[in-house]
Amino acid sequence: MNFKFFKAYSYKNSALKSFVIFSISLFLLIMFVSAFFVVPKVNELLDFQYEQDAQNELALESALFTRFVVSQQTIVQDLAAYPMLAGAVMLGEANDLSITELFENTIIGGRKSRLVLQDIAGNVVIKTDNTLYGNYAANQLWIEQLLTGATQYHFQLLRQNNAALTFKVSVPVLYNGLIEGVLSSEMTMPLKDIFVTQNFNTNVAFKLTQGAVTINTGTEHIEIHRENSLILAEMDIIFTYVTDDSLIYNGKRELQNTILLVLLFSFTVAFLLFAGISYRGLTQNETGVEVSKGTRRNYVIPVIVAVIGIGASISAFMIATNLKYAVIEKELIFESKQKITTIKDEITENLQFLDAIKAFYNASSYVSRQEFSTFVTPLLFNYQNINSVEWLPLITKQQLPELKAKAATDGFSNFSIKEINANGELVQAKSRESYLPILYVEPFLGNEDRVGVDQAKNDIFTALSKAQYTDVKVATGIERLKTEHGNRTGIFILNPVYENKHLLNKDLEPQLLGYIRIALNMSNIFAHTLNIENSHLLLYVEDITDPNNIEVMYGVRQQENTFFREEALNIAGRSWRVLTYSTVAKTPLMLSAWLVLIAGLAITGLMTFGITYLIRRREIVEQLVESRTKALKLSEKEHRSVVENAVDGLLTIDEFGIIEKFNHAAEQIFGFSAAEALGKNYKLLMPESAHKFQDLYLQNYRNTGIKKQLSSDIKLEGKRKNGATFPIELSVSEMKIGKTKKLSGIVRDVTERVKLEKEREKFIDKLTDSNEELARFAYVCSHDLQEPLRMVRSFSELLQAHLADDLKDDAKGQKYFKFVIDGAARAQLLITDILSYSSISSDTQMLECVSLEELVSVIQKDLLDTSSGIITADALPAIQGNRTQLYQLFQNLISNGLKYQKPDAEPHVHISVENNEQFWLLAFKDNGIGMEERHLKKIFDVFQRLHGKKQYAGTGVGLAICKKVVERHNGEIWVESEVNVGSTFFVKLLKPIE
């Protein structure tokens, strides 16, 4: 037991050792492959990916830039749709004051507009009076293109001033859908508002080239430049995206580290897994099944595949996630910025309304309710988001009666100043030095109840009143606005109005007249902003001016798992936090990346297991092949030794008779060594006389494929090296190996046998001659002896008769005569017996169907005529045989049974038969005197007698005849006997073969 454990342990130990060596080698190999193949390849891929990324970024950024341009174009296009512009270009002059107003008062991008209007001849119809950088000479290609409708708009870079870009957007002016002029707008915008990329200023830069003008966002922060460009055909701008290659190097390093880490990690995991599996394998292999040591090496490939696959999957996962996020984030940033700008613009536009009313107040000495209404109402048409406009004059106690009087003329007979008390109820205002009542309100309908409500206690007004002269517009926090569509979120914006005398005389203190207050429907503005261009954004806005009281203005705050961007918006002293959400949630994106990862891992797993499985199979097959080969080699060895040690000569020839194999025995037989015989034609081993026949034989074999005459044990003549011919016995067999046919022959030198055979034949011939002579002699003897004997007997009897009277009293003479006659009679009997015995051997075997029943009945008749006794028999069959001989057999055996009897006994012979498959067994049983054991063998010999002829008559030939007959019938005869009981003679006669 201990010994077994030690053996298993040492076996495992050595396997573990080789496994460790293998693992270290594998690890070194991976490191080697990583260093010289994976990492350079990864670098290459990284460069490629980076290039792709840069190209993608470039495409994205340029698309964003194009969108920016298109958005600017939309602004200018909206402006160009003003009817008076069409009129002006049609007339070729700006005869309309409203055009001048439009040109001077339009704000684009937060600045006073810089506009140029040109007619179809390219002549400038009107332009703003500020500095223009563009070239507006007639007959320029771009004007021509715009006028002919070849381009939708013209975008031109003009100059760069530090971090601001000045550009021009020109659009056609249409009348009734047809182009009648061109409106150009020059705009200056901070580059950071144009290129909205988050990492702009740190990692990337942009360069725009149009003709001689180049704009760039500043590249001082970029260490190693990498430029990717594309041409924006519509604008004829080369858009260049500059990235910092030092980032790639850092990135590369990071990624390389990551890859190495991943490799190491994957290797470790794979190693542990592999080790686990192998350990199981080792423990299971205790039974001693041979595990070839080379096997482990085969698993390098699946391990590498697994490592690379896992690495690649993880990388793909990371890249997929990052790329998609990047695109979405960029889109979000751009859209978000755009929305913010739109909101800002919308509000700024509405603020112009305040300016207009303020200008109106400044231009008039007094504004009546009617004038206020007339001025404001049409304006409100254009400013749908302004819910209401109010005028809140600063009224001193002294001015109150005058105010009431004016109100009365306006139809407010009971005008009084009210205020909201602590309980929120509207009550008569308390008397104080000054009031700030809502005096005019438009639209009046629905806002009637607000007239006269004092706002002096409102915090904002309190604050503003205390402040020095100020022209800023101030916004309030969230207000609920009543609209026809229900309550909406809004803000109030108010603007103080001063007497404008101080503008003329700087010494005068500015005198506050009151406030204009507008209610801005922010819900509408936000909603409208969102609805532009089927936006994919969600918007959430909150007022964060007072950190202690953050109020939601619009939208619902989304969950954190969506992409969002936070922007700050400062409007009229309020700070708003604007959160824009992409409607694309993170989860589905993650899902796709996860899918990539899972798919990658699954494929890796499949590949690894696939390869492992294949390798395992190959191994099994190899091992099988090896074991079979071993067995085969062994068997071949055995075969070879059999062949080599065979006594018979073995040789193989091909279809052309060339000897391919020649064994040791063949060498002995023919006297040629194998080296001498191989490669030679086998005719070498034949005498010349047989050559022709052999050629014909092979030719015929080749043509027909029939090995005629040649089969087994053909006797031929062979030729030894010394030229002597000798007899051989040849058996030929055909071998088919693939398509080639071969003949193999077993050769036996039969010189000795032939010699022996000849001798035997000679001997047999001699023996036959001698036998025949003997038979002839016996026949002649017996036949020729019959005649003198008969003469002796007959003449003795004649003589006895002749001398009868003489011998009457001569007893002696009579006795002598009797002896002569008896002797002659016995000699006659003997000769007859010898004659029949010898004739048996010489008789030809005339076989016929002999009925034993008949035979026995004939014998019964013959015998019982002359002697007494009983002969019984079973039912006897008919058998094939010589009738005469069978008669002699049965007659001898039965008569013997009757003859050798005790004197006082009734003789009885019974013949029984036993039917065996192949033979009949006949038994002749008598109740005679029996024989002693020692005599049993002798009785079948010729002339053997157990008793004196006086006791029992006979010649001693009968049983010899029986034996000869049975042998002639291929049978057997024997006897079983007991003295004074009887004997049983058994005869076994073969049944004829069917």
Binding site: M84, L91, G92, N382
Partner: protein
């Protein structure tokens, strides 16, 4: 061979014939708004063509052919068209319409380049009052300087307006009408009439504000000076108001110049009272003279099936004026001989137009010395073929035809 040479000779002769025809052809130009106010421009074309067809397009040994240029109402494009006319050595005369502004803005250019201009449709008074005895612009059309008062008189007397609201386009044409109409209103005791101006290319929103303003101002009728494009936009906005706020419109003829009737079809406009000034002839009037019947049948033949009944002729005034004006031109050419040198011939025709020596029966009236030499002080209307007695007020019929109110 014989056959071939015959074909060759035929080709040669036809080529020579063709080149001779080209050499002998003089071109009558039309510079009009073929895009935005197509109907009126087509009517003018038909008027010119029908009149010339009566003399088989041949006069004084020359064939007459026509060239139509599109200015789309754009002053600059009109000037370019004129340049083409001036540069064409075979250009006989140029008709111009339907907008006044191109003619107002380019009047000096036209006169200085001696471009003989016939105006069947363009109303601004300024156009024909070029302060020189050598005046190259002749008009057979409504003249604002005198039409204004006709429109105002109709509004005040017939429509019984108490507080008319003048709504005029912001162009020199609108300016001219503002002046004459304000003057005319003074005679009806309105010193400071309510006035609103609008630009070309006015859109629905702007029109809605204007209409709202007019309603708020408490006006009881609208005096409209507008072309068909903007006119349709304004009328559409009026029709968007409740029916009781549909103020009657007394309009200059600009609204008949385009597809006004298609944008505001009869079913929509029937609740609204729109009257506008026209010259006092219409094919739609039940009583037609044999002369006018003959002209109309020629028009039917000429229009190749487009016009079969009077209602089919849109912007009919363009046809009527152009036809009458062309009759005068033909007479003037007949009075002078054509040399083939257009500088000389144009001047001769100009002088002949000022001295037509026989009465020419036309559709609107019979013209007896319709033009004479211009003198700002003494003969201010010298280049006006029509006088206010030929101005009538009209309305659209059920089939968009123009019905002259016969008094």
């Amino acid at each position: 061979m014989n056959k071939l040479s015959n074909i060759f000779l035929f080709l040669i002769s036809s080529f020579i014939g063709a080149s001779q025809a080209t050499e002998n052809t003089l071109y009558v130009y039309l510079d009009a708004d073929l895009s935005n106010h197509k109907e009126s421009s087509q009517a003018i074309q038909q008027g010119i063509e029908v009149a010339f067809s009566e003399i088989d397009n041949k006069i004084a040994g020359f064939n007459i052919a026509f060239k139509y240029l599109d200015h789309r109402g754009n002053v600059i494009r009109s000037k370019r068209n004129y340049q083409k006319f001036i540069n064409d050595p075979n250009a006989l005369v140029i008709y111009s319409g339907i907008h006044s502004p191109p003619l107002i803005k380019n009047r000096k250019f036209i006169n200085e380049n001696k471009a003989l201009t016939l105006i069947p449709w363009a109303a601004a008074g300024y156009i024909t009052r070029y302060p020189s005895p050598e005046n190259w612009l002749f008009r057979l059309s409504i003249d604002d300087s005198r039409a204004g008062s006709v429109i105002i008189d109709y509004a005040m007397k017939k429509q019984q307006c108490k507080k008319p609201h003048m709504l005029l386009e912001k162009t020199p044409w609108g300016d001219a009408n503002l002046k004459t109409m304000t003057e005319a209103l003074k005679s009806h005791g309105i010193d400071e009439p309510e006035t609103t101006r609008f630009s070309w290319s006015l859109k629905a929103k702007g029109a809605a504000i204007i209409v709202d303003e007019i309603i708020r101002a408490g006006s009881d009728c609208i005096i409209l000076v507008s072309n068909a494009v903007e006119g349709a936009v304004i009328v559409n906005e009026i029709l968007n108001l409740p029916e009781e706020q549909h103020l009657p419109i007394i309009s200059h003829w600009g609204i008949t110049s385009g597809n006004f009737h298609e944008i505001i079809p009869y079913e929509r406009r029937k609740s609204l009272q729109i009257n506008f000034i026209q010259s006092c002839f219409a094919f739609t009037n039940p009583q037609q003279s044999p002369f006018s019947k003959a002209v109309f049948s020629r028009l039917v033949g000429h229009s190749k099936g487009e016009v079969t009944k009077p209602e089919d002729l849109k912007s009919a005034v363009g046809f009527i004026h152009a036809y009458d004006l062309t009759l005068l031109l033909i007479q003037a050419i007949k009075q002078t001989e054509l040399t083939g040198d257009m500088d000389i011939d144009r001047n001769n025709i100009r002088l002949a137009l000022e001295n037509i020596d026989k009465s020419i029966p036309g559709l609107v009236k019979t013209y007896t010395k319709p033009f004479s030499q211009f003198n700002q002080q003494t003969n201010n209307n010298a280049h006006e073929a029509l006088n206010p007695d030929s101005y009538c007020m009209a309305t659209f019929g059920k089939e968009d035809e123009i019905l002259i109110s016969i008094e």
